[in-house]
């Protein structure tokens, strides 16, 4: 068993959180509230040292770039939300974030989620020297994407041929959801194994 105080602290907090599997109890509530507090403190320091200091303080104070008074002003506007009478000033900062975020998203999503996906789907079904499995897989990918898109096309009723094609799309979507679910479960299981290994190896030293 280790004598490291940090490992003991981590083991205690891990067990506190696992105690929730029995039922909600004071140990879990303690760890839960401590986690929220520590997370808030972590993100506060992280943003201060990685965003506010290099992007605002250094540019404004060290380099004397006065155009950085605007982000400072908008940041203060954001904090004014704490005061109900002048809280509407925060809309200016929110508007900046929403506007520039929307402008960036139009370009990036159109490129990555739309054009790049079309480009990756519209490949040769039978490239030179390909095996029958590659032809089948490329065809499957193409059919899956097209039928999936038909399912999401709500401007036409899903009856007749459209309904049949959309039904094939549902099959692909169900496999997709099942696979994503299985993948998520395994990611959580691997985290659980990690915590168990920590308790049994790092803390107790029995494995």
């Amino acid at each position: 068993m280790t004598a490291d105080i940090g490992t003991w602290l981590a083991a205690f907090l891990t067990l506190c959180i696992f105690s929730f599997l029995y039922k909600d109890n004071p140990f879990y509530k303690f760890a839960e509230h401590l986690f929220v507090g520590i997370s808030a403190g972590y993100w506060l320091c992280y943003h201060f040292w990685n965003t506010v200091k290099p992007n605002l303080y250094d540019n404004l104070v060290e380099k004397g770039e006065w155009q950085y008074l605007l982000p400072l002003f908008l940041g203060i506007c954001m904090l004014l939300r704490l005061f109900s009478k002048i809280g509407w000033f925060s809309r200016w900062a929110i508007a900046f974030m929403i506007g520039s975020g929307a402008g960036i998203m139009i370009i990036t999503y159109l490129q990555s989620n739309f054009l790049e996906q079309i480009k990756s789907t519209l490949v040769s079904l039978d490239p030179a020297g390909s095996s029958w499995t590659q032809v089948a897989n490329n065809s499957l990918l193409f059919i899956g994407v097209v039928t999936g898109l038909v399912y999401f096309f709500f401007s036409k009723a899903h009856t007749g041929i459209t309904g049949g094609v959309a039904r094939v799309g549902v099959v692909f979507l169900m496999i997709c959801f099942g696979a994503s679910f299985g993948y998520t479960v395994m990611a959580r299981i691997s985290l659980l194994i990690g915590r168990m290994y920590f308790l049994l190896h790092n803390w107790l030293g029995v494995v």
Partner: protein, 212 residues
């Protein structure tokens, strides 16, 4: 003033960010990095706002002796012991901040998420009951991926030829039917995001401004 100025800011910022993509030269190239810095700074202030609000809420809870107020003290102590050394000492190795990050934040974070394994297991019991053809597909795909990602999957299918074992099936599902479904969803969501962003920039969608 309360609605018009935010709408103008949104329009100008949105259009500027679109233009800078098509004209990546001065002054738009500089505007892009300036806007990105400004965005990050405001986001950091938004985080500070959230923490101020959290602190205020829990101070009021302690002051009014509301139910479970003792845990609010734990929360504020957690915030203080992380934030005070972090802001004054820095966040580099060997600081109190780093000690708490390694021995409190990381273990609690991964334990919280690992706890979900148990709840996901009970949820999958309900979701995976193969009552219909679609539910059966969901079950088979999920089961194959889970088995394929664990050593037991290949052990169970060790009699199968190379390339046809459970991990190969899981990889195939992830690479083809899953990718096809994901792409259809991504294309749909991509178009949706573009349409919504345009509505926001043009001032048609104003819900982010709130009431009044």
């Amino acid at each position: 003033m309360r609605r018009e100025i935010p709408l103008i800011i949104t329009f100008v910022c949105g259009i500027t960010m679109i233009i800078q993509f098509f004209i990546p030269h001065w002054p738009f190239s500089d505007v892009k990095s300036y806007f990105q810095h400004t965005y990050m700074i405001i986001a950091a202030f938004a985080m500070i706002l959230g923490i101020c609000n959290l602190t205020r809420l829990h101070i009021f809870k302690i002051r009014d002796r509301r139910e479970n107020w003792g845990y609010s003290i734990v929360l504020l102590v957690g915030l203080a012991i992380m934030a005070i050394p972090g802001l004054f000492q820095g966040i580099h190795e060997g600081t109190m901040f780093e000690f708490l990050f390694k021995n409190a934040h990381v273990p609690m974070n991964s334990t919280m998420f690992s706890l979900l394994a148990f709840f996901v297991a009970s949820a999958s019991y309900r979701a995976f009951r193969a009552r219909t053809f679609d539910a059966a597909l969901l079950l088979i795909a999920g089961f194959a991926v889970m088995l394929g990602r664990a050593p037991i999957g290949d052990t169970l299918t060790s009699f199968m030829p190379e390339g046809w074992q459970m991990s190969d099936l899981a990889n195939w599902i992830m690479a083809f039917p899953n990718t096809a479904g994901q792409r259809a969803i991504m294309m749909g969501s991509g178009l949706g995001i573009v349409a919504t962003s345009l509505r926001v920039i043009l001032g048609i969608e104003r819900s982010y401004l709130g009431g009044e």
